[in-house]
Subunit: 460 residues, 2 copies
C-alpha cells in the first residue's frame, strides 16, 4: 500500500485568519465566523474531504509591535476580532461523525486542573474526536491583559509547560481507573471511591492535590498537537507531541532534515519514529491549467494587505516592520534584525526580493509554501513532500475561506484517492485511531502520559 | 393582561445534579450528560415549553467536607463527574432559535479579559441568547486545585467581584464603538482603530490596559444572573443582576419579604424595581390527581440518597453532617451548628423532623420547594407565588432528568397558557428581550455597565 497522506484544515476564529487582507476577496466568507452555520458548514465540508481534523489556532492578544500600536492589526483584521476557539466545537461535532477538532489552548493562562476538565468534556461530547494544540503564549499583549504583567521567559515557559503536562497526564490517565464508574442501581454506587485517586501533585509551578472531575473519556488524553520551531520547542514536541505543525516545506532537503531530526529526537525520548505525525502547512492554489493556477495566485496575492502582514510579522518576530522601507531589498535591511523571516528571502538563489515583495508573499498563508498548479501537479508536489520529505500530511491553510478548502477537496483530493495515496473512508471513529490506526484509541505505552507515574499509583 | 410567569430549566453538567441518588430512578437519563443528544434534546424540549433559558449551575471542585473526604460525593455522584458548562451550548443553540443559555462561570478562576471574550463569542454564536450566572467560588476543594492555595475571604470575594464586573463592562460596553466594524472592501478598513478603545483599567485586583478582542455582539453584556443569599451577595445582586435565583419560596411571606427587599435595594442602587427578575427554585411533581402526585412524590423521595445529600449539604454549609445521628430530631442538634438548613426544619410548626427526614426532604432539588399536585393545583401555587410573593418566574429543578421537565411542560404549561399567565410564543429572539420586552436587547441605561464610565471615554 502506498504511503497515506493526511490533511487538517487550518483556521482560527477570526475574519481572515492567516492571509491578511483576503477578507476583501469577493469569495471570502470569513466575516461569517460569528455564525454557527459558518462552522457547521466547514466541518461537513472537511469531513466530506476525509480530513483528520479542523485545526483551530489561537492567540489571546492583539499584535501591537508594528508602529508600537495595535492600529494596523485592528484596521486590517489581522486576527482581530478574535473569538474563543473551543465554543463552536460541539455544534460542529453534532453534524459530523468522524472528523476531529484540534483547538489551540494556552497552557500559560489556564490552570491545568481546569484545562483537563475542558478537554475531557469535549472528548466525551465528541466521542473521542478531540486534540489539544499545546501552546505557551508569547505575546506581551496577552501577558499584560491576563494578569501576568510580563511574559514568562521563553525557556522557563517550556519548563513550566513540562510540569503542566505532568499534571494533566495525572488527571487524564492516572486518577480514575477504567472501571471506576459502576453506575449500579442495585448497590447504589455510581463511582467507586476506591478507584478514583487524588493525584497529590506538588511541583515547582503547580499544586493539585485532588482527583480529576471527569470520568475517563474515550481517548482520555486528547491527541496532542504542537508547533515546534525553537530548540526547546522541538525537545518538548519530541517528548509529548503526537502531531506536529511546521511551516517548513518549500525546500525538500530542509523538510527532510527537519522530519529526520524530529523522528530521531522522538526515538531518543523512547518513542517510535512514527509516533509523531508531521504536518507542514501549505496553501494550495488549484487551476484547470498551470496558467489558470498562476493567474489565480496573482489574483489572490493582489488582495494581501502589506500593512496587515507586516503587523502580523512584527507580532510574530518582535521586530517593528514599520521601520523598514518596503522598496529596499531584503539583503540590505538585515543588519540589525537578521531573524528567520528576512534571512529566508535574502538567501534566495532564484531572485532578489524587496521587503514589500517578501511581506506580500509571506502574507498568503503566513509564510507557508504555496503549491500552485493543476490538481495533478499539486498531487505530485504533496507526494514528493510525503515520500521524499517524509511528511505525514499537511495542514491546509486558506487564502480565502472556505474556497481554498472547497477547491482542494473538489479537485485535488479525488486525484490523490485515485492514486491510492489518500483515504476514501475513515478508518475509525476516534481521532487518534484515524491518525494512528484502528484500535489505538489511547496514548501508546511509550508516551510520557503513561510513563511518568504508575497508573493509579499517584496517591501511593 | 395578567402577570406573565417565566421559567428557566435548572441543571448542571452532571449525572443527577440537584437530587442526589435520583440517578437510580428508572426514568432518569442523567447518565447521558456526556452525549450531545442529551443536551440538544433538552434544549428543544425547553424551547417547546417556551422557557426563557437553560440555567447551567457549576462548581469546580468535589464536596469533601462530609467525613473529611470526597468519597461520599464520588460514590453517590453528587455533582461528580462534573463536566464543563459552556462547551455544549453551541450544539444546543444550533437546534433552537429562541431559548437562552445561562451558564455559571466563576469570576474567581478566570481572568476577566478571557471571560469577556468567551461570553462575547457565545453571544455572537447564539445571536444574543446568552446569560452569565456570576459566581464567586466558595469550595476549598476548588481553591486548592486551582492555584489559590486557600479561598479568597468571603467579603473580599465580592469586592474583587465588583472590580471584575467593572473590567468586563468596560470590555463589553466601552471598548468597541457600535460602528467600529466597517468591513469596507473599497477602503480596505475592516475595523476603524479610532473606534476601538483600550480600556486602560488599573485597579486593586486587575490590570487590563488593552481593548476587547471581540466586536460588539447582539447583547454586548450577557444577561446577568446571580444567586444572592448572603448580605454582600444581595448588595451585589441589587447592583448588577438582571435575574436572581433564590431557594426561598415555600413560605409566601418570606418570599414576599425577600422580593420586596431586593427590589428596594435595586431602587436604592438607581435601578427600577422590576429591573431584576426574581426566580425562586421549585421542584414540580405533577399527578392526574392529588393522590397520584403525592404517591409520585413519595416514590421520588425513596430514591434520594441520605449520604449523598448529607455530603452535598456538608459542602454547601461547611458543617460535617457525618457527625450527626440521622435519627435525632433537628432541634436537638442545633447547638454547635445552627446554620440555616437545620434552623429551617427545627422551626417547623407543622411537624417534628429527624435529621434523616430533613436531609432526605432537602435532597429532592437541593432544598427547593416541592410543588406537588394536579396541573391546576401547581398552576395555582405558582400564580400565588408570582402575584402575592412577587416572584417573576421559577427555576424548574429536576428530581429526575428530563422527566421533571417533560411532565411540567406537558401538563402544567398548557394550564398556565390557558389562563393567560404564560406566553404561547416568544416575544423576540434575544434573551434580554424575552425577559424584559421586545426592543431591550442591551442593558438599560441605569445599569452599572452603562454608568460606571462614559461610553468610549475609557481611554481619555
Amino acid at each position: 500500500m502506498k504511503k497515506q497522506i493526511r490533511f487538517n484544515g487550518f483556521t482560527l476564529n477570526s475574519v481572515a485568519p492567516h492571509s491578511p487582507g483576503l477578507w476583501r476577496h469577493p469569495e471570502d466568507q470569513g466575516q461569517r465566523h460569528g455564525d454557527l452555520d459558518y462552522w457547521t458548514d466547514m466541518a461537513r465540508l472537511l469531513e466530506k474531504g476525509k480530513f483528520d481534523a479542523v485545526f483551530l489556532a489561537d492567540v489571546l492578544g492583539i499584535y501591537d509591535v508594528y508602529g508600537d500600536s495595535p492600529d494596523a492589526a485592528i484596521e486590517h483584521a489581522v486576527q482581530v476580532p478574535l473569538h474563543n476557539t473551543l465554543l463552536q466545537i460541539s455544534a460542529m461535532a453534532a453534524v459530523t461523525e468522524h472528523i476531529g477538532f484540534a483547538p489551540t489552548y494556552s497552557a500559560t493562562y489556564t490552570e491545568p486542573y481546569k484545562l483537563a476538565r475542558d478537554f475531557s468534556t469535549l472528548d466525551h461530547l465528541t466521542k473521542g474526536r478531540v486534540a489539544w494544540n499545546i501552546v505557551t503564549s508569547y505575546l506581551k499583549s496577552e501577558a499584560v491583559n491576563l494578569g501576568l504583567g510580563d511574559q514568562i521567559e521563553h525557556d522557563k515557559r517550556y519548563d513550566r509547560a513540562d510540569e503542566y503536562m505532568d499534571v494533566v497526564y495525572k488527571l487524564w490517565e492516572h486518577s480514575w481507573e477504567e472501571d471506576a464508574v459502576e453506575a449500579n442501581r442495585e448497590t447504589g454506587v455510581y463511582s467507586n471511591p476506591d478507584k478514583v485517586h487524588p493525584i497529590n501533585h506538588k511541583g515547582d509551578y503547580f499544586s493539585v492535590p485532588g482527583s480529576h472531575l471527569v470520568e475517563p473519556s474515550p481517548q482520555r488524553t486528547p491527541v496532542l498537537f504542537q508547533a515546534g520551531a525553537f530548540e526547546k520547542g522541538k525537545a518538548f514536541a519530541a517528548k509529548h507531541a503526537e502531531a506536529l505543525f511546521t511551516t517548513l516545506a518549500s525546500d525538500l532537503d530542509e523538510l527532510k532534515a527537519f522530519t529526520k531530526e524530529i523522528r530521531e529526537r522522538a526515538v531518543d525520548a523512547g518513542r517510535e519514529a512514527d509516533d509523531i505525525k508531521i504536518f507542514p502547512g501549505i496553501v494550495p492554489i488549484v487551476g484547470r491549467t498551470e496558467e489558470e493556477a498562476q493567474e489565480k495566485y496573482e489574483e489572490l496575492l493582489s488582495y494581501v494587505s502589506y500593512e496587515g502582514t507586516a503587523a502580523m510579522l512584527s507580532g510574530h518576530t518582535g521586530v517593528d516592520f514599520s521601520k523598514y522601507d518596503p522598496d529596499q531589498y531584503v539583503e540590505d535591511v538585515t543588519t540589525n534584525a537578521s531573524h528567520g523571516f528576512l534571512k529566508k528571502y535574502s538567501s534566495s538563489t532564484t531572485r532578489k526580493w524587496t521587503v514589500r515583495e517578501a511581506v506580500l508573499h509571506h502574507g498568503l498563508g503566513i509564510g507557508a509554501t504555496k503549491v500552485v498548479g493543476t490538481p495533478e501537479q499539486i498531487a505530485d508536489a504533496l507526494e514528493a513532500m510525503a515520500n521524499e520529505g517524509d511528511a505525514d500530511g499537511f495542514n491546509i491553510i486558506q487564502a480565502a475561506s472556505p474556497v481554498t478548502f472547497e477547491d482542494f477537496i473538489e479537485h485535488v483530493v479525488p486525484v490523490l484517492q485515485a492514486r491510492g495515496s489518500y483515504r476514501t473512508e475513515y478508518e475509525a471513529s476516534t481521532l487518534r485511531e484515524n491518525l494512528f490506526g484502528a484500535g489505538r484509541v489511547r496514548t501508546s505505552n511509550n508516551h510520557p502520559s503513561k510513563k511518568s507515574v504508575g497508573l493509579y499509583g499517584v496517591n501511593v
